[in-house]
């Protein structure tokens, strides 16, 4: 089996739906999952899917992309501070680089990240897009 395929398969929970962990000792939300709480260093293995809501913490625009991502340039990579606390690195989508701002509210979407060539698998994973185009019910 192609090691890339195996690795993608292992990561599907975190990539498709932001599945992280919850520390049962101190309550810290952990993403990506690492089985040890970064805050209190106790074992943390309870799966918890994060909401996907957050804001842009910082960002940079990529004009010269690594192999497999050339088709998407220019695109923006951001550190997104999730509402539960963790900061994740992710590509922004559905937004021109010039419109990205620090503090911009974003939400997680699952998109194509890359393909392993014409005949290989398609890799899906989280990206973030501006969350401002609709508003959830306040009585939710």
């Amino acid at each position: 089996m192609d090691p890339k395929v195996v690795n993608d398969w292992r990561l599907r929970g975190q990539r498709y739906r932001l599945e992280g962990e919850l520390c049962d000792h101190c309550g810290e939300a952990i993403f990506p999952p690492r089985d040890i709480c970064p805050k209190c260093h106790e074992p943390a293995k309870t799966p918890q899917t994060l909401s996907g809501r957050g804001e842009v913490y910082t960002f940079s625009t990529i004009y010269s992309a690594p192999e497999g991502f050339e088709a998407y340039t220019p695109y923006t990579v951001a550190l997104v501070k999730l509402e539960e606390g963790p900061i994740v690195t992710a590509q922004l989508t559905d937004v021109p680089p010039a419109e990205v701002q620090i503090g911009m509210p974003v939400e997680m979407v699952t998109r194509r990240l890359r393909t392993h060539g014409e005949e290989g698998t398609i890799v899906y994973g989280y990206k973030f897009r501006p969350a401002s185009f609709w508003h959830a019910s306040t009585q939710a």
Binding site: R12, G13, Y16, R17, E19, T49, A71, Y72, T93, D94, V109, T110, R111, R112, L113, I122, Y124, K127, F133, W134, A136, S137, Q139, A140
Partner: protein, 352 residues
């Protein structure tokens, strides 16, 4: 006439959650006409185009998440996820398992992809109604989604678009819209096809109208209304498969529906023909604004050919669910116009 064609499950069922997704890019008909016929207007205003990182799976995932949010259930309570599409990204490897994994619905469920041109999604919906109606499971999801492509320069280039909708089917006592009855009508009619390994479909020109679209949609709709003892007057809304604006408008008029009854669910002028997503997204747009007691007729059409027809009655639960996810109009308003050159890049049309 005896009620022998009407389908009604033993357990009363309905839609308990629904949701859609439409990509943000728009290609206008005038832009297609500029490139291919030196100007003029096309059959619709504009169509929705998927971005570089989107495909039928990503469209289905977002529509499915919206449907689960409105259903107010845990995704792992779904006993089936069925995706109807003519443009799955893999020829072999289901789209449905990817959607199931994204929702956190794995592993105890049925997952399969349905195929029947533009009625693949409504076919999945019929199957979901049957699964819940027979008590094999309490919840099942049906999705219709496509990233449809026409051959460059073909008439389909004006309308073939991207989008989709998802429905969570459940017991009627939890429904936002209960099923009063459904009916399906299918024959072997070669109006549109795509052979294996071919990138673009072929169609039978004028053959696509009377013997295909109109015969199947009108037959399914009129027989279902007859067997339920209902008339066009009994409905607030009617939705027909919408490959353009002309066909559904004409079918509705012939059946006795008014423009007011079909306007809310007729989206093709603004988003194009989303194939398996088309009539289902029309239903989603209607549910976005429907009121308790409203009755809705939904009629799909798939080339090859067949129609599924459904009659729904909206319940009081609808009001508290409409704002739990983006409405169809939120996605329609979120729009960025692109030109033909960018369209060619986004849809991979430089590949041969």
């Amino acid at each position: 006439m005896s009620s022998q064609h009407l389908m009604q499950p033993e357990r009363a069922v309905g839609i308990i959650g629904y949701g859609s997704y439409i990509p943000m890019y728009r290609l206008s008909s005038t832009e297609v006409a500029r490139v291919w016929s030196g100007g003029g207007r096309g059959p619709i205003k504009e169509k929705a185009v998927a971005g570089l990182d989107e495909d039928t799976v990503t469209i289905a995932m977002e529509a499915a998440r919206n449907a689960v949010a409105r259903a107010e259930i845990q995704a792992d309570a779904l006993r089936a996820i069925w995706v109807g599409s003519e443009s799955p990204p893999y020829a072999v490897k289901p789209a449905s398992t990817l959607v199931a994994e994204a929702l956190g619905a794995t592993p105890y469920l049925l997952a399969a992809d349905f195929e029947f041109a533009c009625k693949a999604g409504s076919e999945a919906l019929q199957a979901a109604l049957g699964l819940v109606g027979s008590r094999m499971g309490d919840y099942a999801m049906a999705i219709g989604a496509d990233t449809a492509q026409g051959r460059p320069g073909d008439d389909l280039e004006y309308t073939a678009s991207s989008g989709g909708s998802a429905f969570v089917v459940g017991p009627a006592d939890l429904a936002v819209a209960t099923l009063l009855g459904s009916l399906s009508y299918a024959t072997d009619t070669p109006d549109f096809w795509r052979r294996a390994y071919q990138h673009y479909p072929r169609h039978g020109g004028r053959f696509t109208g009377e013997p295909a679209y109109f015969h199947h949609t009108q037959s399914a709709a009129s027989r279902l209304m007859e067997e339920l003892g209902m008339d066009p007057d009994d409905f607030e809304f009617a939705i027909f498969h919408q490959p353009n604006v002309k066909f559904p408008s004409r079918a509705a008029r012939r059946l006795g529906f008014t423009a007011e009854q079909i306007d809310t669910g007729l989206l093709s002028n603004l988003i194009g023909n989303t194939y398996a997503g088309a009539s289902l997204t029309g239903l989603s747009a209607v549910l976005d604004v429907a009121k308790p007691g409203d009755r809705i007729l939904l009629v799909s059409f798939g080339s090859g050919a067949g129609s599924d027809a459904f009659v729904w009655e909206v319940t009081e639960r609808i009001t508290s669910r409409q704002d739990k996810a983006p409405r169809v109009t939120d996605y329609i308003r979120r729009r960025t116009e692109i030109d033909y050159a960018l369209y060619v890049r986004y849809r991979g049309k430089l590949k041969t």
